[in-house]
Amino acid sequence: MTATEQVGVVSSEVGAIEGDLELRGLVKRYSGTTVVDSLDLTIPSGQLFALLGPSGCGKTTTLRMVAGLEQPDEGSILLSGNDITQLRGFRRPVNTVFQSYALFPHLTIFENVAFGLRERRASDIKRKVERILETVELSALAQRKPAQLSGGQQQRVALARAIVNEPQVLLLDEPLGALDMKLRRQMQYEVKQIQSDLGLTFLHVTHDQEEAMTMADKIAVMNGGRIEQMGAPEELYESPRTAFVANFLGNSNLLPGIVLGHESELAMIDVAGQQVRVPSARVHATDQSVFVGVRPEKIRIARDHDVAAAGENELAGIVLDSSYTGIGTEYVVEVAGSNETVKAFVQNDSVRERLAPGTSVRLIWQLGFTFALDGSQDPHAGEGTAVGADTQHVAAVGARGRAARRKRR
């Protein structure tokens, strides 16, 4: 059996890798629980595609099914149009960068990286390994053993070991999770560089929304075994379609409201007795009951006497609490005439007094940043599960504010 037959479809040149990865109706169940629920996904070739979601959402399981480490209960996996679902893992032209790196402790770095090449009896192993080690800047450590390397270096070896085989798809299973903040940011950049330089298809699984947004060309947000929304980072961030996506990526305010009507491509929505306009195209709901969403950093806080422009929404409110975070100030503002609170993040880009609690203010933001979501879902879905301290902090501030209000009343 030749190396080619053994491994399935394999291309021989870097950059000429072809073919999309298609997941059709994948289902996986573990002892009664459906972990991956009828997943449909197409990952175009040459992209860094992120599969983003909280722990337990099924993203790692999906990855393992593509790698061949798990068998789907239903559905199929196609690579370059070939159905590889029945193909044994070691025959698939797919490589994985594991979360734990899984470097072979008894082999040198060189041998670790050369492992896949040797198994496929590839030609010119020495040159290929040396080249990739140069790319990841580990040439000097080729004769060391993994235990002698730092975490960051091991991570790069894991990357090199996978990439050197020129797989049609490279799977990354939260590979940066074990690194400290600074190193992680650096590696995010490096991995992205390598991917775009080599033009390989990367499927990157992570629960870190910042990481996904930084690196990915396209993101699919997964929750409970299903895909909530898929698209480019900007699209997901600026125009989320579910509360989960809105809360999971960054932070969002979601205020309950009733759709009163539409006029000239705007939806008029009653929020706590005040009116908010949302571009109709950004209303992702069919019923009258909706959640109006706007992200905290889009809101500017104006004093009573300031006036909103025509293309802006406006809500009156009272400051409950504020906290200084260096870059900016987070305000928790209670919407006038309701119990709802709005978080607003204001950059500290001018010398200004911090607004004291109890101050009457106006929350003003551009129409185009508003979106509306179906009112029947849980507005807190996706909160607190993302990596990013902001969400938790703001939630705590909100709670303090509500408690303070209760004391006042």
Binding site: Q6, V7, A67, G68, L69, R88, G89, F90, R91, V94, N95, T96, F98, S100, A102, L103, F104, P105, H106, F115, G116, E119, R120, K145, A147, R161, A162, N165
Partner: protein, 286 residues
């Protein structure tokens, strides 16, 4: 407290901590060993008494007279070690990777024979290898044994006994080193195009070498000095050096010769072990 006294106390501390172990080693290891060596250099007889005369001639006598027994013992022990390895490795592998929730129960079963007395365990082989038994019957049917041949009281039965008695000591270290292997490494090997067998060959096997090395030592060293198996399952032609020591010490009451044989055996085993460890260089595995 002055800095001088605390400094002084710090100097004594390591010695005090080492003291219990040193005393234990002196009492139960070093002192019997030295007594043995001293005894081997004595001359005389039980009747007249033994006197320390630095009788190196004892060693000359031992080596020239008993080298065939030394050779036989090493050979039997080596063969038994290899057999134990060939049986224990697949056994341990099955238990670690294929037995699911029965893993620890099966492990206990492997060790369980050790709870029976070695006499019972060894005598069981007279039944297994009996002339009218299943094994001999099968071998006769296949033609490997003639009708006038038997397995008991041959090197085969002695080695079988040795292998069986020491099998748990080979299986346990291999079990431990296999169990320690991170399964994700095997997954990674598969991810890198290694089939099941290749992954075993390139990842699992090398990572289990420390266990194999440990098991080899734990089997070979006691097997070389064994005398029970040869006594119960052997014949005149299969006596091992352990039996010779036994008879010199207990029956002939020739303590110097018995001691000299013992010391020679110790030196021989240490030499062989050192040689093989140097070749294996297991310390360079990780």
């Amino acid at each position: 407290m002055t800095s001088a006294t605390t400094a002084g106390r710090r100097r004594w501390a390591p010695y005090l901590l080492l003291a219990p172990m040193v005393v234990w080693l002196l009492a139960f290891f070093l002192s019997p060993l030295v007594t043995l060596v001293m005894g081997s250099l004595q001359s005389g007889s039980f009747q007249e008494g033994f006197v320390f005369t630095f009788e190196v001639a004892n060693y000359v006598h031992v080596v020239t007279t008993y080298w065939p027994w030394f050779l036989r013992s090493v050979a039997f022990a080596a063969i038994a070690t290899v057999c134990a390895l060939l049986i224990a490795y697949p056994l341990a592998y099955m238990i670690v990777f294929k037995s699911g929730r029965w893993k620890y129960l099966l492990l206990v079963l492997v060790v369980a024979p050790l709870f029976a007395s070695f006499l019972v365990r060894t005598l069981a082989w007279t039944t297994i290898l009996a002339d009218q038994g299943v094994v001999v019957g099968a071998l006769r049917t296949v033609g490997l044994l003639g009708p006038d041949q038997w397995l008991l009281a041959t090197p085969v039965s002695v080695i079988a006994g040795l292998t069986y008695n020491f099998l748990p000591f080979m299986a346990l270290p291999i079990f431990v080193s296999l169990d320690r292997i991170d399964r994700r490494l095997i997954e990674a090997a598969g991810d890198l195009y290694a089939s099941g067998f290749r992954a075993f060959r390139r990842v699992t096997l090398p990572l289990s070498l420390p266990g194999i090395a440990a098991g080899t030592l734990l089997v070979f060293i006691p097997a070389a000095g064994d005398f029970v198996n040869a006594q119960l399952l052997g014949s005149v032609d299969t006596q091992m050096i352990g039996n010779v020591i036994d008879s010199q010490y207990l029956r002939a009451l020739d303590y110097p010769t018995a001691s000299a044989i013992s010391v020679t055996l110790i030196v021989l085993i240490i030499g062989l072990v050192a040689l093989s460890l140097r070749r294996a260089r297991t310390d360079e595995l990780f």
